[in-house]
Amino acid sequence: MAGREQHGMVQKRGVGHWFTHLGLIIGVLIIFFPIWLAFVASTVTQPEIVHPPMPLWPGDQFFNNYRDALVSGVNAPVAKMLLNSFVMAMGIALGKILISLLSAFAIVYFRFPGRKVFFWLIFLTLMLPVEVRIVPTYEVVAGFGMLNSYSGLIFPLIASATATFLFRQFFMTVPDELAEAARVDGARPMRFFWDILLPMSRTNIAALFVILFIYGWNQYLWPLLITTDPSMNTIVMGIKQMFPSGDDIADWPVIMATSILAMLPPIIVVISMQKLFIRGLVDSEK
């Protein structure tokens, strides 16, 4: 008996065990199939796709299709769209982290008139996704002449307090004595922020960076509205623009190569920083 329960778990053995794996493998295959198909399509020729069924195994056009996409694309070179997406995602992630760190520091470590009001105003913004206020936000951005610009892509999306709230929660868990010790050591507020608080927040910053980078990279509606110039398109919204409007047949290999390129950076970020990513996800929802 003791031997059977040695893992301290109620566990299926033998056949049941293999069914578990089988179920998971089928699940993984279903989840993977659309990505696999896109990858295959990005390595074959247009005729192979338009005369269905298309092959389910990669062809030999990998370099041609990706080169076509990156260098010329359909409306704009995909390389340029990748750059735009990268600037936007980095801008949103870094910008939001920067302003949130500063304001969370102010709210937690200072007492000043109006502090409560600031806190509640910022807290209010937690509730409203950009989708709900697109028309007036568009007008504001247009009024500043920020259409088709990186700042127009970035600023409206950092105007929310999720990150501020997270950093506030984290700062509250930093022992009071550390700030006192720093004061006794002679550290002024910004020195304490820079020498103590920031290094202690490293993992939180990194985890949040992963989440925000993906959030920024995957934006669709906002870039769709404010980038009318194809050379300012981000890659995620640019794919849809590659479909012809009339009855013409879409350039599927290039479109699929672009799709793969569009998912690659966030996938790399998620897989390589899996632990931080999961932590960031769980933190940001609590």
């Binding site: 102010a106 409203l128 709900v132």
Partner: protein
């Protein structure tokens, strides 16, 4: 909760807050206020003047069969997306939780789609089911089923639901797996010693203990289906056929930017705002309850 230690002064903290305050005021509060303000007006056909109509835009919307249809569509769509993605995720999480070794490998394999943008997911599924070149639609044709989501409303809805749920499975899987792994093994062992078989254990012990996670995911997924699926709808169906997949967020976009009906679009924004507000309140109530749990 308050900090015991604080630094003196008010100028420095105000300066520290300033970037966030400016960005939030200009790109958040002002537009949100504008949305509320605009919802009370109807612009004249030349866009020169607006006429104050009070709650007229709202009255019109609530009487508008198209808007009511969009409400129903959104409800159906979000329920289907939530049920499909939660169901699939729970199934996979329960399986992965039964493994002692290797659940980490499956986790790594299953979190990929989280990184795929909804709009890209839309393109991938559009490609599979494309009426001319789609692999899945072609094989369905061989089996004698004539797939055409461009004309068939039910098929269009099915496709956007599948594409929207697909990316969500990863997210829900992560939370379900974490929830399952947090259930003390001794509880399950006790049930096993009491003679409960797997399904009974799941129904009577595991699922009730998992209910906080499930409820949380329910709210989060509804919010997702309401707002973040715009990319899927726009890439696959553009709200068609016959507005069969026009969800509320899509209608705000279509009326405001395509139809240029700013008053109505703003009123729709305000209604959505109320919906998000309600969902947020529900979520906070729930989090409070979970703290006491």
């Amino acid at each position: 909760m308050e900090k015991r230690v604080t630094f003196k002064g008010w100028l420095l903290p105000i300066c520290l807050l300033l970037p966030q305050v400016i960005v939030t005021a200009v790109f958040f509060f002002y537009p949100a206020g504008q949305a509320v303000w605009q919802s009370l007006f109807i612009p004249d056909p030349f866009g020169l003047k607006s006429q104050f109509v009070g709650l007229g835009n709202f009255e019109f919307l609530l009487g508008d069969p198209y808007y009511r249809a969009a409400f129903t569509t959104t409800a159906v769509f979000s329920i289907l997306v939530t049920v499909a993605s939660l169901g699939m995720a729970l199934f996979l999480a329960v399986l992965a939780d039964r493994l002692i070794k290797g659940s980490g490998v499956y986790r790594t394999l299953l979190i990929w789609p989280y990184a795929v943008a909804p709009a890209v997911a839309g393109v991938l599924w559009l490609f599979m089911f494309n009426t001319r070149v789609g692999v899945v639609s072609w094989y369905l044709g061989i089996l004698g089923y004539d797939w055409n989501h461009v004309l068939n409303e039910a098929e269009a809805m099915g496709l956007v639901v599948a594409a929207s749920s697909w990316g969500r499975v990863s997210y829900n899987f992560l939370f379900f797996l974490a929830g399952l792994q947090a259930i003390p093994k001794s509880v399950i062992e006790a049930a096993a010693i009491d003679g409960a078989r797997f399904w009974t254990r799941f129904r009577t012990i595991v699922f009730p203990l998992l209910s906080p996670t499930t409820f949380f995911l329910l709210v989060v997924n509804i919010v997702y289906a309401f707002f973040e699926t715009f990319g899927v709808i726009h890439t696959i169906t553009s709200g068609g056929p016959q507005q069969a997949t026009t969800i509320l967020v899509y209608k705000v976009f279509a009326d405001g930017f395509v139809g240029q009906d700013l008053g109505s679009s703003a009123a729709q924004s305000v209604i959505l705002l109320v919906v998000v507000g309600l969902l947020t309140v529900i979520q906070f109530k729930f989090i409070e309850r979970r703290v006491h749990y």
